[in-house]
Point group: C3
Chain length 170, copies 3
């Protein structure tokens, strides 16, 4: 991890690690290996520069606190996968893309402008105050896995059941 730019070998090792982690959790890297390795290279450049995997397709502030939501995988990956079958960079794609049932098209930026992000961070929910939950909780009907997000995941990370096997739990 000393050379700059990252060596081909570093890119290859990280690519394999990210691919394995993605598959274990029910996610998929873009099957276009050259495209994907180029993004991985961008991630490694950012890691060397900033100390964390800042999104290669977005401007970094060089400050982990400010960039926390765009450390890859970013906070917006899963909603984008749900709505557009790919994340903003198209580093992660849905199973439907992998199966060539849909094509990846242009994905609009979902990240709110900086002023709104700051406002959201300040109105952080206060747990235990009887207020409503900040996200719905989904339950996998197969294995009981619970997660809190706008919509269920495309695939259950535990048993790989598909999105339509989830039900609203809380």
């Amino acid at each position: 991890m000393n050379s700059f730019p990252p060596s081909e070998n570093e890119v290859e090792i990280r690519y394999k690690k990210l691919d394995r982690e993605a598959e274990e959790g029910g996610y998929h890297l873009n099957p276009d290996r050259e495209f994907t390795k180029n993004l991985v290279k961008g991630l490694l450049v950012n890691e060397k520069r900033f100390g964390y995997l800042s999104c290669p397709c977005r401007m970094s502030w060089g400050n982990r606190e400010e960039d926390r939501d765009i450390i890859c995988p970013c906070d917006y990956r899963d909603p984008d996968l749900d709505q557009y079958n790919a994340c903003y960079c198209a580093l992660y794609v849905s199973d439907a893309v992998l199966q060539k049932k849909v094509l990846v098209s242009s994905i609009p930026e979902r990240r709110p402008p900086r002023s709104e992000r700051k406002a959201v961070a300040q109105q952080e929910p206060v747990p235990g105050t009887g207020k409503q939950l900040p996200f719905p909780v989904w339950r996998c009907r197969v294995c009981g896995y619970l997660c809190a997000r706008e919509t269920p995941p495309l695939v259950c990370p535990v048993c790989k059941a598909t999105k339509d096997r989830f039900e609203r739990f809380m």
Copy 2:
């Protein structure tokens, strides 16, 4: 994925995928490889015919909505593993079966008749209405994993702790 019936190679590839996914989540395929590959072949036949992995041991309606609960892994696998050490097809077995501590015997059909399934779907819980949770929530004492099901899983999918390491959480 074009030939019909599925080729031996297609069966082998899917078998390996299902085996890997099972082990990652703390599940196990039946160690009798010939028996298991025959079930995988049945799954692939159904996938080609209906477009989804309908249970090879049950009658399919050929309609994803009607068959949603018997798409493999089915909604009944985990309760059957808990009670009988195997799912209805014996495609999935418990660790106790793998260790030859127990034998798989005949497993009664847990799936309710069609009329009852429809009734259950209509009385779907309304979250946020202060009603009781539809399933108890279990917590792994080791890693904090939460899941909602009748009984805890045989093995924690995250840290592989056994069932007796879970406690009721909600």
Copy 3:
């Protein structure tokens, strides 16, 4: 699993299994292989003697019920990883140790004395009685994973996001 003490081959097989399970869940075994294999050997000795993986660095009562909290991975691993970058035995270490950013030092025993453990077991929370939750619930901002523990995990077991990507959910 018949010889006593465990053969080198048995140790090697179990070592690989534990290593794979650790990595899949976002944990890491100690990279010092000789040290780690010695602990694995101790675990296997305990498994043969008691029937479960009692912690090799603690006294066992030879009774699963009494030792439940020290079956490896023990109930104390994750708080120790969080605070000391390693579990009591140093079988499991944090990513920071793996990256040689911190060194493992001596870890105090976190397990309460037997009398306190018994008292805690008796005041088990009664779910559904409107009482406060026994642990805070954390949510991964990336994938929505939920877990209940004193602090968030060092790494999300589903999407491998780091601890600072978690927020308090309940």
